[in-house]
Amino acid sequence: MYTKKRLVLPFLLPGLIGILLFYVVPFFGGIWYSMTDGSFENAFVGFQNYSNVWQNPMFQLGLKNTMELSLICAPGLFLLSFALSVLLNRIRPAGTFFRSSVLLPYLMPSSAVLIIWLLWFDFGGPVNRLVTLFGGGRVLWLQGMELRYPVILLFLWKNLGFCVVIFLAALQAIPDALYEYATLEGASFTRQAFSITLPLIVPSAFLVFILCWVNAFRIFKEVYFIGGAYPDEPLYTLQNYMNNMYGKLNYQNVTTAAYSFALIVFALFGVLFYLQNRAQQGLS
């Protein structure tokens, strides 16, 4: 560990300047922006914009959809990747093919995969063939409420591998000896899972959970590819609202909506950080 302070500057300075310029200054500048009226004088209006935007039905719709989609996507992604990595950990070292194939989608450009998705979920496509095979009626996957399923599946398909890899690294770092000892002592599989596996992977699991949420809030990309700038109502996310407001040069509304969203995001993560601290203290 170095303590000579001036030596750190050449390493930090270029990055810090950029972060200040492109992240920090815009962040604080935006707060000011969301409290002015956007006219020529740019008068200060306090929280006027906020109460306007919060009463806007499209903003409410976007917020509701974003929250609903994230509430499905983030926990779903988390649980699914945890289950998969536990399974994968049990068959190691045979799982290399699976590990590679599950991670590959994370690097694939979503728009290139989109064509296949549109084919699969077509009214006369393979997914509906499967549905009728199991006795169901054909579903209009590409419109209305049902459009959420392809979007969520695309999201899961793309992000699953990343979470599995992090989980797997954490699981593999647990020494086998711990389990052997526990088995000798007569601990059951579930007991082992709760007393050994869980406490040891809490830090990694927490980070995966956070990343699941960060990615879930970015589901706009998938929505945009499948539904365009004005998708059907069940898919109209907050980001659609912000992008469309931006297109109309209504910058005040964009920033106001953005900070309302940021507030929710930070509140959520604050609660999560707090819970994780509590959980770790409780476990150790």
Binding site: M1, P26, I115, G125, A169, S204
Partner: protein
Amino acid sequence: MRKQRGVRFRLIQGFLGVLAVLMLLPMLQTFLYSFSSISEMKSYMGTRGSFDESRWMDPHLIPNMFSLGQYHQILITDNTVLRLFVNSAMYAAMILAGQAIIIPAMAFGLSRFHFPGRNAAFFGIILLMLLPFQVTMVPNVLTLRSLGLTDTIWAVVLPMWFAPFYIFLIRQFMVGLPNELIEAAEMDGAGTFSVYLRVILPVCRPILGAAAALSFAESWNLVEQPLTYLTTRGDLQPLSTMFNQLVKEKTGFEFAGAALYILPALFVYLFFQEDILSGLQLTELK
């Protein structure tokens, strides 16, 4: 814990195998379809979007006849896709080049030095990492405009050079490195810079490779940034924002386009695969 490879083991293996094939299917199908002739794909894609209960799309698995027609179209006859492809490649290259200089150095500064405000800076980076892009979108446009950068490639490239997520990723790895590593190098008379270049960077190879691959994936899939920073410059748009346009037009060569689009990501993945699998180890926040 050596387990007998019983029925259960085979079951898990079978289940994961099927899932793995399903995960790879979209790419496989894209490559297979890209070797169909344009007319074949046009008529096949034409059967999409029919709401007739009595009709199905053909269970089309492999091309009826092997053809390089689609590739001939996008590589030689019509250069729309190729031009967008070159744009995408340019963004990815410029973003990665800048990140390679700035991000590991910043992570090194944040992980191996003691200075006042270090924890605050790290905490700030975590907060920025969590922010959705749209939160700072408008002020960022204003910053870029006052620098005269909107509607230039720099508007997309510059902010990405300082992407907080990769700083976080690499810093987490560097924090875990043993002190002896640095001390031993210093005993041999190495200065800070040569420790960084000759000791730290080589040791961090897995995480640097992983970060490079992930960052490439992000740069190859840019959507929000070009849409907001390059509103008047259609000629500077990358493949990622224009590709679905191509699909909507039902050109018949969309699969060769998709294959061409996927290919670099595939190569990057194969090249950095080991690094990603061994480097992505996120442990607790320290």
